[in-house]
Symmetry: C2
Subunit: 311 residues, 2 copies
């Protein structure tokens, strides 16, 4: 049971996530945590996701702190316009960025290809091993994850092109032109969030502009890439690799099995964000609580969503 | 056919490798290239490997330029003590270092594990994904390859320990104590050459001192690691991963199939050095020719082998 130090009349926060005890205590020093039974009193919510039904039960709601970085899964139409929504970008960015680079290298350096052959007792060398050093790499999205991916690839010697809506400087050539970023790229990593601007952004022409032996990695959201475009490029180019941690049917991976099972696909089940890693999990929870407390204290919270990106 | 500009009486070099025409021309401006038929006239040799029989056929031999970085495959007992031997370390170091990091990340971030499951339609998340950032990594051997591996792992945020016989500074904690380097390491990469000092250097106690979920990567020579130690640790620790591009039976991979086929082994067929990559191949040939020409001109060649490391 939680021990609540907060005085009568302190702000009520509806918490639907399983907070570690010390974080629950930290939060309880400033607010009163309420559960489903007293949801109606809540002025703020701390959650992974939230339903339209929960939203209707909180007439006093002013602020939603989401524990995940992505906010595309929220029922945006049900969130009243005066309610401020904050995400948690950056809290697991290191984990996701490392995973993106791991996927890119595993595919690009043909570790997966040769390991699979060796296990079958096929010891023949067939495909060559390209260099990262000096090769063009495109990073789509220059948020916390994309920035780290771009920095890592640059440290490995790649010529990095960074693509995003707004100019950001770093060890990359910036471009707001997706085709320019991807043309001739041997590695491309998408760390784009899913918004109404990014849905279906990556089309066949972009994938086809990459090196024919290139590797496209997605650690953002599947829907940023047109599914038909991926099917077409995989059919046409046996040397091209599509590596993804995110899938169009979300957690219902069987629905994407037609793509997952293709030989030139590398697939993982949405785990890049430090799945099963307590350190990463702990940091996500901590940063979400800290950001919520910023709002409670009247400071400006980080990662405030732009409603117009989703509705 | 090669066109030889060299005057009568110029130095003869026995070339047993298939040089690109322009490099053959470059070499021919200074020396006369001879083949097997005129081997007896050769004062120098350019080769991948050399036999005792070839050595006996070259009474005038003073210098051997090997195209590979490793020199452990030479018939050292048959090389007269006055013959200088130069290797080609560094020429494909970038390729090997990139491959080592790719193997390490593919295994450590469990990309291989989950991809294999996804292909079988097993979408269950089971093992957690550890972080590179903040984790201890050991790099064994701080030559051209090891140095680059250490720099890359440091750029990815790992706390790197660098092990070698002689102190070398870089973005690592230097140690000449192998057990200190490997204790608690989550990633260890061996880029050690095979010499009489390194043969069997990595024993069970070193592997057992690593994190139980650790990843040991070998891109140097298999014989640096005791085969029995690897068998034992793989049997005892299902979460430990042994990832290797090099095998005890060299190119006869079937003889190491008992280890290659284990689930916690990642195996590739000795390809890290840029297999099938013309750019890497070209650079190796170029650097070997340039180093040979240093000796011909009376300059000090690079990568002169220490005979006492092999005999």
């Amino acid at each position: 049971m939680l021990k609540c130090w907060s005085a009568e009349g302190s702000m009520k926060v509806y918490v639907s996530v399983d907070l570690p005890p010390d974080l629950a205590e930290r939060l309880s020093k400033t607010v009163e945590i309420v559960g489903r039974d007293r949801i109606a009193e809540a002025e703020a919510a701390l959650c992974f996701k939230i339903t339209a039904e929960e939203l209707r039960s909180m007439p006093r709601l002013k602020f939603i702190q989401v524990v995940t970085a992505g906010l595309d899964h929220l029922p945006w139409e049900a969130i009243p316009p005066h309610v401020v929504v904050a995400g948690n970008a950056g809290s697991n960015a290191v984990a996701v960025a490392e995973f993106a680079v791991a996927m890119a290298l595993a595919a690009y350096k043909r570790v997966l290809h040769y390991n699979e052959k060796m296990k079958r007792g096929d010891y023949k060398r067939d495909v060559g091993i390209p260099l990262v050093a000096g090769s063009k790499a495109a990073v789509l999205g220059l948020g916390e994850i994309g920035t780290r991916v771009a920095e890592m690839l640059a440290a490995l010697g790649a010529r990095v092109y960074g693509f995003s809506r707004t100019r950001k400087e770093g060890p990359w050539t910036f471009t707001a032109d997706l085709l320019e970023a991807m043309s001739g790229a041997r590695i491309a990593v998408s760390a784009l969030p899913l918004t109404k601007h990014t849905r279906g952004l990556v089309k066949y022409e972009h994938l086809a502009a990459m090196d024919p032996e290139g590797v496209f990695v997605n650690v953002g959201r599947a829907e940023v890439v047109e599914r038909e475009a991926v099917e077409k490029i995989l059919r046409e180019r046996p040397g091209f690799v599509f590596a993804s941690d995110v899938w169009w049917a979300r957690n219902d991976f069987a629905k994407d099995a037609d793509i997952i099972s293709r030989p030139n696909v590398v697939a993982t089940p949405w785990i890049a964000g430090g799945y099963g890693n307590e350190q990463v999990w702990r940091r996500m929870m901590e940063e979400a609580v800290d950001n919520l407390l910023r709002w409670v204290r009247g400071e400006r919270p980080r990662n405030i969503a732009k409603r117009e990106d989703y509705t």
